[in-house]
């Protein structure tokens, strides 16, 4: 009885062993074939200290016996010297960047494919020498675009300098600046100017301070009080210089006082609390918010609205523009802030630079339309040539560091 039971189960065991033998690859513990075409060369367009390695995958990586799990890369300063392991790229990878090396020194590399059974034969490459390059080819496309843009702007500046009449569309917010200052004059209330909460290294602040100069000329002419609380010390110094010069040019240096431009605090909400206090106490009739703003934009704009001031805002912070649009009477959106100083001064060369900027925008629009059409056509038609063209346009503007 026991013998019959064992015999009955023996068949099952034999069948199981057979399945296991078929399922388990014979080559599970074998070493893989080596990768090929292993090359080591200086990393291009870098600051030095880098060597790029490239290779063709082992025939057993993703194909053949498919037993490769990773690669082992080792490095030495001499071809016969001791090689130390530096990297273990996973299977499927065919490139590696070795960094932190000494420029000018020779390095030798070896690579082997790794499997459960061990390492393949080693393949050598080198010597490779890391060095610094004088031109970052990855940014060549950026250079071309920059050159086109600079050429367009300089060309129109040249035309402006020559006296050519350059038409700029009407910007409602800037047309309202004179009206706002006039209103403050009539009501006998001050003009409040906020040049943003960033420092002079932010181009929006520079744009704001430049517009402050134009507004200060108006307040000097109309003898309206001007108040400029600032959030940064350097902005205070620059603002004072600008306003003093504006009052001098308007022929009213006697009206200028250093206290017009005064420092509050660097801290965002401390600054806005102080400015809100100034608004509620001094009740300016015109408020200008021209510069870089963050979360405090709506607090300023709503407080200004509550005191009945006419408000003109301008910023290049995309997240804050909607708040200003909702709460202020006039808003300069993005580039209009940068056009403001040229628009207000009516200087021909500065107006020329705006035209040049528009030319750059036209080029961008052309590429966007062409790119969108190509990608859309490629999606609809599945045509490879169209798809490649669309990819080419995308890559044309891809920024690689």
């Amino acid at each position: 009885m026991v013998t019959i039971g064992i015999m009955r189960h023996l068949g099952t065991v034999i069948a199981l062993l057979a399945v296991l033998a078929i399922a388990t690859p014979v080559w599970a513990d074998e070493v893989p074939l080596a990768p090929s075409d292993f090359r080591a060369f200086d990393s291009p367009s870098d600051h030095g200290g880098g060597i790029d390695l490239k290779w063709q995958r082992s025939p057993d990586d993703g194909a053949g016996r498919n037993i490769v799990t990773a690669y082992e890369i080792s490095r030495s300063a001499t071809p016969e010297g001791e090689f130390s392991q530096v990297a273990w790229p996973l299977k499927g990878v065919t490139a590696y960047s070795d960094n932190g090396l000494t420029d000018g020194a020779k390095y030798y590399y070896r690579i082997a494919a790794v499997s459960a059974g061990g390492l393949s034969d080693q393949v050598s490459a080198g010597p490779a020498v890391a060095s610094q390059q004088w031109f970052n080819k990855k940014r060549a496309n950026l250079l071309v675009v920059a050159c086109i843009l600079v050429f367009a702007i300089v060309y129109y500046i040249y035309l402006g300098a020559k006296g050519r009449d350059l038409h700029i569309r009407r910007i409602a917010g800037l047309e309202a600046v004179g009206e706002a200052v006039g209103r403050a004059t009539e009501m006998g209330r001050p003009v409040l100017f906020i040049p943003g909460i960033q420092d002079m290294d932010n181009v929006q602040t520079v744009a704001g301070i430049t517009i402050l100069g134009e507004i200060a000329k108006m307040t000097a002419q109309y003898e309206t009080r001007l108040e400029v609380p600032v959030s940064r010390s350097i902005v205070m110094s620059t603002g004072r210089e600008t306003v003093r010069q504006a009052y001098l040019e308007a022929g009213r240096p006697d009206l200028y006082s250093d206290d017009m431009v005064h420092y509050i605090t660097d801290e965002q909400f401390g600054y806005v609390a102080a400015v809100d206090g100034i608004m509620v106490r001094e009740r300016p009739a015109a408020c200008f918010y021209l510069g870089a703003f963050f979360a405090e934009s709506l607090i300023l704009a709503e407080t200004g609205s509550s005191i009945g001031a006419i408000q003109v805002a301008g910023t290049a912070m995309p997240t804050q523009i909607p708040f200003f649009v909702a709460a202020c009477d006039y808003t300069l959106i993005g580039e209009e802030l940068f056009a403001a100083s040229a628009y207000l001064s009516k200087d021909k060369k500065m107006l020329g630079s705006i035209k040049g900027q528009d030319a750059g925008k036209a080029v961008a629009m052309v590429f966007i339309i062409v790119g969108v059409l190509l990608v859309t056509l490629a999606t609809i038609s599945g045509n490879h040539a169209v798809s490649r063209a669309g990819e080419w346009i995308k890559n044309l503007f891809a920024l690689r560091m």
Binding site: A87, N99, G100, T319, M401
Partner: protein
């Protein structure tokens, strides 16, 4: 001479509600849900569910890099995101590597350790299951360097201990060793930099959360360049909801984002009500003016 007093009709009055009444109603709308601990569960939207599913799909032992790229100012929005991902990772047996690109980040990581890791996961071992590597300056430049050489930048943890002491640091040569990069961000450097300088070039899955104001700028990266995104407190609440569905024990535990959504929901409703009121009164007034003409 008779005094002419302009009497406003009810409609006109409703169209010009004093801002103080608006502020009062907003205050009440925010206060009451807080006082009665009103909690709302918002089902996860696809962009949040995809991120949840990605974490869920990682096998135990997978490496998740969490970058604390925010500070106390946005902690109400961002901290619940960090809490949820930590809970999720530990439930799945994943390993957490904490770093920060912001100087204010380590403090938030410390808060997470004190509030969540220590009390809720006492069995998790430092150096084996999680490690805090601290802050390094450099922003996107740092990310670039980490992509090729991680340990060149992080030789010690936040307490000055050599990383070679920690078993979970073995084999970490570059960002490519990680199975997921999760950025809790609120500005720059943040989610966008991780996508542009790590996810895209290194083909590493990147996900995370950001403040509600920054979230729209990251939607275009979904789903190809970011596996998912938590947008603001709402996104954090949605992730908590997904976590509750999969791990019911979290239904009875503190769910900060869901609890804070109560005031946000009621505030939204108040604003929507005022918008409707303003427009209804405006349309009625306009019709009346047209009739007079």
């Amino acid at each position: 001479m008779a005094d002419e007093q302009v009497k406003l009709t009810l409609v006109e009055k409703l169209g010009r509600v004093d801002r103080r009444i608006i502020f009062l109603l907003m205050g009440v709308a925010v206060l009451i849900p807080l006082l009665i601990h009103y909690t709302t569960t918002i089902p996860a939207s696809p962009i949040v569910q995809d991120l949840f599913d990605k974490v869920e799909s990682l096998p135990p032992g997978s490496k998740v890099l969490i970058s604390f790229d925010y500070g106390p100012a946005t902690a109400p929005e961002n901290q619940p995101m960090a809490t949820s991902i930590t809970r999720h990772c530990f439930e799945k047996g994943l390993r957490i590597y904490m770093i920060s690109l912001w100087a204010t980040g380590p403090r938030q990581a410390t808060q997470l350790i004190e509030d969540i890791i220590t009390p809720e996961f006492p069995g998790k071992v430092y150096g084996t299951d999680w490690v805090d590597l601290g802050f390094k300056a450099g922003g996107q430049g740092l990310i670039n360097t980490l992509l090729s050489d991680f340990t060149a930048m992080y030789t010690t943890d936040v307490n000055g201990r050599a990383v070679t002491e920690f078993p979970m640091m073995a084999g970490i040569k570059s960002l490519r060793a990680f199975d997921l990069i999760y950025c809790v961000g609120s500005g720059q450097p943040g989610n966008k930099e991780w996508i542009q300088f790590a996810g895209d070039p290194g083909r590493i899955p990147v996900g995370g959360g950001t403040t509600a104001v920054m979230a729209p700028q990251l939607y275009p990266y979904y789903p190809k360049q970011t596996v998912g995104l938590l947008g603001g407190l709402q996104g954090a609440a949605e992730y908590e909801a997904a976590l509750m569905v999969k791990y019911p024990k979290y239904r009875t535990m503190s769910r900060v984002a869901s609890e804070k959504m109560g005031p946000q929901v009621s505030a939204h409703l108040v604003i929507a009500a005022f918008i409707i009121l303003g427009n209804v009164t405006y349309l009625i007034e306009r019709r009346r003016q047209k009739k007079r003409q």
